[in-house]
Amino acid sequence: MRKRHILFIGLLAALLMALLFSFHAGTEGEAPASQAAQAAAVDSSSCVYPKEYMHTHHMQVLEDWKNTAAHEGPDAVHETADGRKLQKNLSTCLACHGSNRYFCFSCHAYANAQPNCWNCHISPLETP
């Protein structure tokens, strides 16, 4: 009986300690920050994926960038199949596509898609 009590108290202590450690808010990600990201460009002569893939999957690509970029911080770099490194950032897209002000909107209007990107990002339509 005594033994069981001691075991129980030990387990409880271990649990408490595990909890203590879990409350220590650390730094996200383990690797030391690389400066590599600073080399990543925002513009490029061709897209991050082939045109056909982007036609059907640009939302997934953007969704993935949206979810990961902030947390990867300086390492939020997208590497294309041919080895180019680009920042995971909507401005990477707009560096090319921003030149056609209606690039996003003509399709989205036709498909009645209402992405909420422009709640915060300033759309090419809003620029003078």
Binding site: S22, F23, H24, A25, G26
Partner: protein, 381 residues
């Protein structure tokens, strides 16, 4: 079982209808808030949290307190609390449901609410709140429902109830602890960083929980013919009185340490709470009513009178709500006296708060009625 919720005498229908109207006001205010954000509240840079958040520590402690009745009532054989066990389970469920609603009401980005479950950050105590509340809600609701079902059929409650209660114990105890820890991460807010906050929340929860249960049981006794038993109610009142005493003692110890140690930041926080903030009146009223009701509940003859016990219990619960909820958050977040003038709840904010409370009281009324009629049915057999 559920059909009992709809049947009832005239008073029951009027009462439910009134609650429904207030709850509908809450729905309206909530729609207003989803459309325009927090402009309809009194919150701002000087009152970062308002009425919504101020309910959370109190409700977490009430949820945990339901265990004080539920555990002996279900796990012990021949417990004098057994007749109250379903009531306690429903009280725990209602308190956790209310917490969830108030957390949701307090979000600036309500449509991202699932993020709270999908992206927890284990290092932050606040991450544990919603998952724990959901777990506790599910457990207590099932346990209470199964108990009432068994009561109605006149059979013993199913055995798995015991395991469900066992799981509910750590989850329930964690609720006020986590609630205190979410406040403890704020450096320099002396009302919140006290190590006594978690035990104080627990004790205050048991006191207020017993008070609310007294009110519920006596009301159900008078109106719906529910029978908890005289001795049970007296013991319940005693539980409330002793817990109130512990709560007051812990509050006093905290203040005495701050003053004897001349801990300037702590005494400054106390001065804000009881002195130079608009909340001082509320704080003193809460302290006074808490002391009074605790003191009177310690008198055996008063405990034995149902009406006296129920009203003293309600006063105790009110006092705890003010101390562990309202003033703890609203005065605790003040950086200095000049910020104190900042907060006055706006009408939609009051409507939404009242709406959630009314919804909860309605839910409790229905559950109470179902419990009482289940008991009557068994006696009718």
């Amino acid at each position: 079982m559920i059909e009992q919720a709809l049947k009832g005498r005239r008073n029951y229908r009027i009462w439910s209808l009134a609650l429904l109207v207030v709850a509908a006001g809450g729905v309206y205010a909530s729609a207003l808030q989803s459309a325009d954000g927090f402009v309809h509240t009194g919150m701002g840079n000087n009152a970062i949290w308002g009425l919504y958040h101020a309910q959370l520590p109190f409700l977490a402690s009430i949820a945990a307190a339901s265990l004080a009745i539920l555990v002996p009532g279900t796990l012990q054989k021949h417990s004098f609390l057994a007749s109250l066990a379903p009531l306690a389970a429903f009280l725990g469920a209602t308190a956790s449901a209310m917490s969830l609603f108030f957390i949701a009401a307090d979000l600036g980005m309500q449509r991202r609410i699932l993020t709270l479950l999908l992206n927890p950050s284990p290092g932050a105590p606040a991450s544990w709140q919603v998952p724990l509340l959901l777990l506790f809600l599910a457990l207590t609701l099932t346990v209470g429902w199964a108990q009432v079902g068994a009561m109605r059929k006149g059979v013993k409650p199913p055995v798995w109830i015991r395991s469900a209660v066992m799981v509910a114990i750590p989850a329930g105890i964690a609720l006020p602890v986590i609630s205190a820890f979410t406040l403890a991460v704020v450096p320099g807010s002396e009302l919140w960083t006290s190590a006594l906050l978690a035990p104080r929340l627990m004790a205050s929860g048991v006191a207020a929980g017993a008070g609310i249960m007294l009110l519920m049981a006596v009301t159900a006794e008078q109106l719906a013919g529910f029978k908890a038993g005289e001795e049970t109610l007296e013991r319940l009142a005693a539980v409330g009185a002793w817990a109130g005493l512990v709560f007051l003692a812990l509050t006093g110890l905290d203040a005495a340490t701050a003053m004897l140690g001349n801990m300037t930041a702590d005494t400054a926080a106390l001065a804000l709470l009881y002195g130079n903030s608009p909340f001082a009146v509320v704080s003193w009223f809460a302290l006074f009513s808490g002391t009074l009701s605790t003191g009177l509940l310690l008198v055996p003859s008063l405990r034995r009178s149902f009406i006296a016990a129920a009203s003293l219990g309600s006063l105790l619960a009110l006092s705890v709500w003010l101390q562990s909820g309202l003033t703890l958050i609203l005065a605790g977040q003040l950086k200095d006296a000049s910020a104190a003038a900042g907060y006055a709840p706006a009408v939609p904010e009051l409507l939404l708060t009242a709406g959630i409370w009314a919804g909860a009281v309605l839910l409790m009324t229905v559950l109470l009625k179902i419990t009482a009629s289940a008991q009557l049915e068994r006696e009718g057999l």
